[in-house]
């Protein structure tokens, strides 16, 4: 009897609360972030029924290596991890990876692609820019500081041209710059709001577009004859005006610099005689006494301004979890709420509280059960009905992850590290193999200036099937074939599966592989190819 009354009460209570109700379990502030996140993610009452449980050790290790280091682990690393019986081995691996040079390189790549979208490096060498990012991640520099450098636009120091790259590779086109800042750093695509209030998104209005535009509209790129550099030249005057193409009255409005949904820039009155620090002249980059551009980065990274932190939180979440808390990544608005608003709020707040510490955020995210969950649906359940994150998302490897994982699987990375390593094995191997990686990256990357999407194409399959490079890495006499063929057959099969797929073969696989290699020992490369081109390799699961 009491059970049915309790059930009745629970039913009544559940009528009044939404699925993600805070009333279900109070958040405890002193709990680690990863615990709070798991609580919020698991709040759906169906969650337990569909919970796929934790991923296996080999699945976890492969996943976390790809996400943090940028490519798959070696067979030796996997064996060591599987053999380790310490209860906190996953935490230790996460910590180790976060402090590795591979992590810094990987994050530099990830944020390079995010910020520059593979635009060609016409004005600032890619190597300099990449090294700046890598150092930033190596030293875990606060991300708001890094963004303020990247958006400073000050290219006067030839050794610090990373400060101007964001602008120069976009030809300092104010429309393109403001559009990309809103899409890539603020989670809002304001492009459609250039000619009129956004036709479909209530929140995005012309004033938001032009408020941002007004920061950069006075700036152009100029080849400075004195400094002998391509620099940004900014005028001290010039107002931005706009009209809506849908407005029959054609009312013209003037834009005040203002980050979208943020405060307007307060501009001091400058003495007309002292408008410039460097006055405009032919082939001279003008520097005004009061620069709107110089205040842009500060405006978007300041603590109270939410969109920057929400966007960063969303991107970091997506990097590990395989989908954003809101999607698409540049559609943060009130009619497109995040799947788990409290989680996003939590992460955005944490960024403010921990000083934009990306490594700390990634650590907490990697420690969650949400991240470590298996991608195999619970037997007997319909995966299509499962609440989000009850089953881990199967995510395609990025072009970079795929390229470098191929080189790890084929043993190239290890052999280059050993052969050329010296004091900097990671850096040496990376530099020497980068051109080979580029071959794969280019085939899988979207065109420059476009966000990366997963669009499998026949030409990619043809590359992996027929290109001589990959064939040479799998041929008899290659590094991989030589190493494997020196092993006795049972170990050979294990090593093949560990090296390529990151796990031990099951019984059926052992049997089939052994039969095949007994019949056709010279063709181990074909078996390796088959594993390399299977979806198990292509995806992060």
């Amino acid at each position: 009897m009491s059970m049915s009354r309790t059930a009745l009460l629970a039913g009544v209570v559940s009528l009044f609360f939404l699925p993600y109700s805070k009333a279900a379990a109070p958040a405890v502030r002193s709990e680690p972030l990863h615990v709070r996140i798991d609580r919020l993610i698991g709040i759906d009452q169906d969650f337990a029924r569909y919970d796929a449980g934790l991923a296996s050790d080999s699945e976890f290790l492969r996943r976390v290596h790809i996400d943090l280091a940028g490519y798959i682990p070696t067979s030796a690393q996997i064996r060591a991890f599987l053999a380790d019986s310490a209860p906190d081995k996953r935490r230790r691996v996460i910590e180790q990876l976060l402090n590795s040079p591979e992590y810094a390189r990987n994050m530099a790549q990830v944020f390079d692609v995010l910020l520059m979208e593979r635009r060609p490096s016409r004005h600032v060498p890619q190597a300099d820019w990449h090294e700046f990012l890598r150092q930033a991640f190596l030293n875990n520099r606060p991300w708001d500081e890094v963004v303020r450098e990247i958006l400073s636009g000050d290219g006067t120091d030839p050794k610090k041209r990373h400060r101007i790259k964001f602008f120069l590779e976009r030809d300092s086109d104010p429309h393109l710059v403001s559009r990309d800042i809103s899409r890539l750093l603020l989670g809002m695509n304001l492009q459609c709001a250039q000619c009129h209030d956004h036709p479909r998104i209530e929140d995005y209005r012309q004033e938001h577009y032009y408020g941002l535009f007004a920061f950069v509209s006075r700036t152009t790129a100029v080849q400075d004859k004195n400094k002998k550099l391509l620099l940004l030249s900014e005028k001290a005057d010039g107002e931005t005006t706009y009209q809506s193409v849908f407005d029959p009255k054609k009312i013209t409005k003037t834009a005040v610099p203002r980050v979208p949904f943020g405060p307007a820039l307060v501009e001091p009155l400058v003495d007309k005689a002292k408008l410039y620090v460097i006055a405009p002249a032919a082939d001279v980059a003008a520097v005004p006494t009061f620069s709107r551009l110089a205040r842009l980065a500060g405006a978007i990274t300041q603590r109270d301004y939410l969109p920057f932190r929400r966007n960063l939180a969303n991107r970091l979440w997506a990097h590990l979890m395989g989908r954003g808390l809101f999607e698409p990544f540049d559609n943060d608005h009130s009619a497109n709420p995040p799947s788990h608003p409290e989680v996003l709020d939590l992460l955005a707040q944490e960024l403010a509280d921990n000083g934009f510490n990306i490594r700390a955020i990634l650590r907490e995210l990697a420690l969650t059960k949400t991240y470590q969950r298996s991608s195999i649906p619970r037997p007997g359940t319909d995966a299509k009905q499962a609440p989000l994150y009850a089953i881990a998302v199967v995510k395609p490897l990025s072009p970079e992850q795929l390229a470098w994982s191929v080189m790890q699987a084929t043993g190239l990375l290890e052999s280059y590290r050993k052969a050329y390593g010296g004091k900097d094995p990671e850096g040496e191997a990376y530099r020497r193999l980068a051109p080979s990686a580029a071959l794969f990256i280019n085939a899988f990357a979207n065109p420059p200036g476009q966000p990366q999407t997963f669009e499998p194409r026949t030409d990619q399959a043809l590359l992996l099937a027929n290109h001589p490079s990959l064939r040479s890495w799998l041929a008899p006499g290659s590094t991989l074939a030589t190493r494997l063929n020196s092993l006795p057959l049972p170990t050979r099969v294990e090593e093949l599966y560990l090296s390529v797929l990151g796990r031990l073969p099951d019984e059926e696989e052992r049997k089939e592989a052994t039969e095949f290699l007994t019949r056709q020992p010279k063709d181990i490369g074909d078996l390796a190819w088959a594993l390399l081109t299977s979806p198990e390799f292509r995806f992060n699961h």
Partner: protein, 425 residues
């Protein structure tokens, strides 16, 4: 055979094996006959060619001119090879092909958004929450295509650098009917089998790959993992047909007539692919979204479209392919009769046109009328649903038949509409 992600069925495995061994028969799986070849020889195979004039082509500058009115703009109308039918002066060569073509001038799709307009024209229906309808290309690949046909069922020739259409086109039909995009119509790189790879070795490694893939897909099949696996089968198919991409073997004069620019080359490639057994080929000409200086830009773009298109129709006819190839010239919508302050025309879907030719279409037919200045349909208003009924009927299919998505019937075409019989042969 539709794709059910929960099933892990061996149907897929079998069909891919049969697909591979069509080329040659090792490993004891036997040589299969090639029914598609038989169908081609019997003249029974039907094909579809869609020319997408991307961006919203102006019906007033193409199929339904209104010279001398306040909306007509500066261009004149010209007579065509069919007495009584006039089209824009911007299409002189196409005008001479009018006896092969039919025009629908009374289209009202009530959707001025590029993306949504494209969905309506490509699926025959408005987008619905919870159900995505398949693209016409995927539907045709499924209904008209043959599993043993090495060419992908839906080929999309895209202008250089515009990127392909997405995996989502095939919707519930499954990624095997997703389009294969050919950027700038180029034969894909790496289309040649490596010299040191024998046919037998290629067979072996493909089977090994299939085996490994099936294992993974048994428990973690998603649209993405399927689509990825499919690309290898498509690759094998494309390799077998690589000669089709080489237009250099065509006579110089014909290549000149098609035109050496992108769209011309793509039209010639389309003809070769259709001739070579492709089921559905789409060629895109970009761009027509002329909010500014509509007349100059339509002059330029249609100047590029006119001769290659006319040449393509003529070429298909001469090769005896036109009777079995449905040709559709479409856009996402038309353009406003009102000329804006920038000499432009804006998006307009209330009264616009589509042109058809070929299989099942009555040449020289015009259906539907707009009023004197093109601002409204006054006779025989139709929407994309009617068009899809018409396409399927023209191809000898029954548009009232259903696809099945987990036992739920989905009619091929919108049941609220019907075929435009006036233009069916």
């Amino acid at each position: 055979m539709h794709c059910n992600y929960a099933c892990g069925s061996s149907d897929h495995l079998l069909s891919r094996r049969s697909f591979l061994t069509a080329a040659g028969g090792a490993l004891g799986l036997g040589l299969l006959t090639q029914p598609s070849l038989a169908r081609v020889l019997n003249g029974q195979q039907k094909r579809v060619l869609v020319i997408d004039l991307h961006g919203g082509v102006s019906q007033l500058e193409t199929w339904d001119p209104k010279p001398g009115t306040n909306t007509g703009g500066p261009f004149q109308a010209i007579p065509t090879s069919v007495p009584g039918i006039h089209i824009s002066e911007l299409l002189p060569h196409t005008a001479r092909q009018m006896h092969r073509m039919a025009l629908v001038r009374s289209l009202n799709t009530a959707e001025d958004d590029h993306g949504k307009g494209a969905i309506i024209m490509n699926t025959g229906r408005r987008q619905e929450p919870g159900l995505t309808y398949p693209h016409l290309g995927s539907a045709c690949a499924r209904l008209l295509g043959d599993e043993s046909n090495p060419l992908p069922g839906y080929i999309n020739i895209t202008p250089h650098g515009t990127g392909g259409v997405s995996v989502a086109d095939a919707a519930f039909l499954g990624p095997r009917f997703a389009p294969v995009s050919l950027d700038d119509g180029k034969a894909p790189q790496n289309i040649d089998r490596p010299a040191d790879l024998t046919a037998a070795a290629e067979q072996t490694r493909q089977l090994l790959r299939l085996r490994a893939s099936e294992r993974f897909l048994r428990r973690r099949r998603t649209a993405q993992t399927e689509a990825y696996t499919q690309t290898y089968d498509q690759a094998v198919g494309l390799m077998q047909k690589k000669h089709l991409f080489n237009t250099a073997n065509e006579p110089e004069k014909l290549r000149d007539r098609y035109g050496r620019h992108d769209f011309g080359r793509h039209c010639l490639l389309a003809r070769r692919l259709l001739e070579g057994g492709a089921t559905f080929v789409k060629v895109t000409h970009t761009n027509y979204d002329t909010h500014h200086e509509n007349f100059d830009f339509h002059l330029e773009q249609l100047g590029e479209f006119d001769l290659p298109f006319a040449t393509l129709l003529e070429d298909l006819a001469l090769r005896g392919l036109l009777d079995t190839t449905l040709v559709i010239v479409q856009s996402e919508f038309g353009r406003t009769p009102n000329i804006n302050h920038l000499y432009g025309r804006d998006h307009w879907s209330r009264a616009w046109s589509v042109a058809l030719a070929g299989c099942g279409i009555k040449g020289g037919a015009v259906v539907g009328k707009t009023n004197a200045n093109g601002t409204a349909v006054v006779d025989r208003e139709v929407n994309a649903g009617h068009l899809f009924h018409t396409y399927f009927k023209a191809l000898g299919l029954d548009p009232k038949k259903n696809f099945y998505v987990e036992q739920r019937p989905i009619p091929l075409a919108d049941p609220k509409a019907s075929a435009i019989t006036e233009i069916l042969a």
